[in-house]
Subunit: 221 residues, 2 copies
């Protein structure tokens, strides 16, 4: 709009330095954006928001260690008005709805053209929500007739926590290790595992581990 107004300060959260550099370059070349902070993990992201007060955040949901959904929940819990755009390499059908439920204001895949990202940021700064047209259509239909077309993956019926545990199982982590990863009781992880087994209709624990490994590896050879 008017070049007089100050540029929007953007925080970038991604654990890949090269991706961060690409985002910095991309956004700083736009007339209305300015990257004011970068963070490689959830802890640094929270610190950066508190310190430099950005106008908006761009976060990857697959960070090292903790996952980005938790980060979004934490951010929204502490700064309810801070808008977050999720930038992910994973297909929107997997994580977009979860991210929005967690409080994100938009979801863009890394496969998209850079213009989609800047467009999404402007839309969000304008108080709106951004998702792709395809997903928008899907969510609309879902809102209308209640139950939309069957979800692509049975994993969709898992809760956020259960999905997180499933991913760690698929990475070869045991119950005890997952409990430490998430700072939870072993008993809690056992509970999550039981619920995962039940929801995915898997009979035994080894079958569940197999499913988890295959699921985590899908899309990768």
């Amino acid at each position: 709009m008017k070049p007089v107004e100050t540029k929007a300060k953007v925080l970038i959260v991604d654990d890949h330095p090269i991706v961060r550099q690409g985002l910095v370059q991309l956004l700083n070349c736009e007339p209305d954006f300015m990257v004011c902070a970068e963070a490689a993990n959830a802890r640094k992201a929270m610190a950066a928001i508190a310190e430099v007060k950005p106008d908006i955040g761009v976060v990857d949901i697959t960070l090292q260690g903790a996952n980005g959904i938790e980060l979004i929940k934490n951010i929204v819990a502490q700064w309810p008005d801070f808008p977050v755009l999720v930038l992910s390499m994973h297909d929107e059908s997997l994580y977009a709805e979860r991210a929005l439920r967690a409080g994100a204001k938009g979801y863009v895949m890394k496969q998209e053209a850079p213009e989609k990202l800047t467009g999404a940021l402007r839309r969000i700064l304008n108080g709106q929500i951004y998702v792709s047209e395809k997903l928008q259509d899907k969510m609309m239909r879902k809102a209308i007739d209640g139950k939309a077309l069957q979800d692509t993956s049975p994993v969709a019926i898992l809760s956020d926590r259960e999905l997180e545990v499933l991913q760690l199982i698929g990475q070869g982590h045991g119950t005890r290790q997952i409990a430490e990863d998430l700072s939870l009781s072993v008993k809690t992880i056992e509970s999550h595992r039981a619920h995962i087994k039940e929801k995915l209709n898997l009979k035994t624990a080894p079958e569940m581990v197999r499913f988890a490994v295959q699921w985590v590896n899908q899309g990768v050879l």
Copy 2:
């Protein structure tokens, strides 16, 4: 600005435009590199090599559609002297050795600092091979005490029975079920599992299950 020596022409292959932009920015800011072409998939990558004759390629192994390992094999088959550096978000323990066997000259994770990437490129252009120190050490040790281990998968050192058990583990069978499958004592299966873990240098049972599942799946492909 007097380029005494001509800059190395670099081809970038990655299906994420934002990552490509980051790489372009990173490399073009170096005095000795110049991005001469970008490709989002394997087909365009082959075309770009044929057209602009780059000096080196930086390729992501998780492209959409076909996988990057196949791309590397194709590149090496057609241009045996064209050096390829793999840039991946996945841990080197998963794909580095396979990438090198396919003909890549190096492997760098996206989690690494950008300097690692440029350093690896210079090393490769110098005719050497780049992997992380950790992986280098691992491969050295492997080459020393496992003399005939160059072209064999680690599974080759397993006995017939152990291999049979590994396959059943990879199919999601538990210890008790495997014992029934093979009409053996549970204790015997436990023993085989212990030996498998030891021979494959796996620390925990869940890690072994993960390995088994992946191995069984890739054997099928």
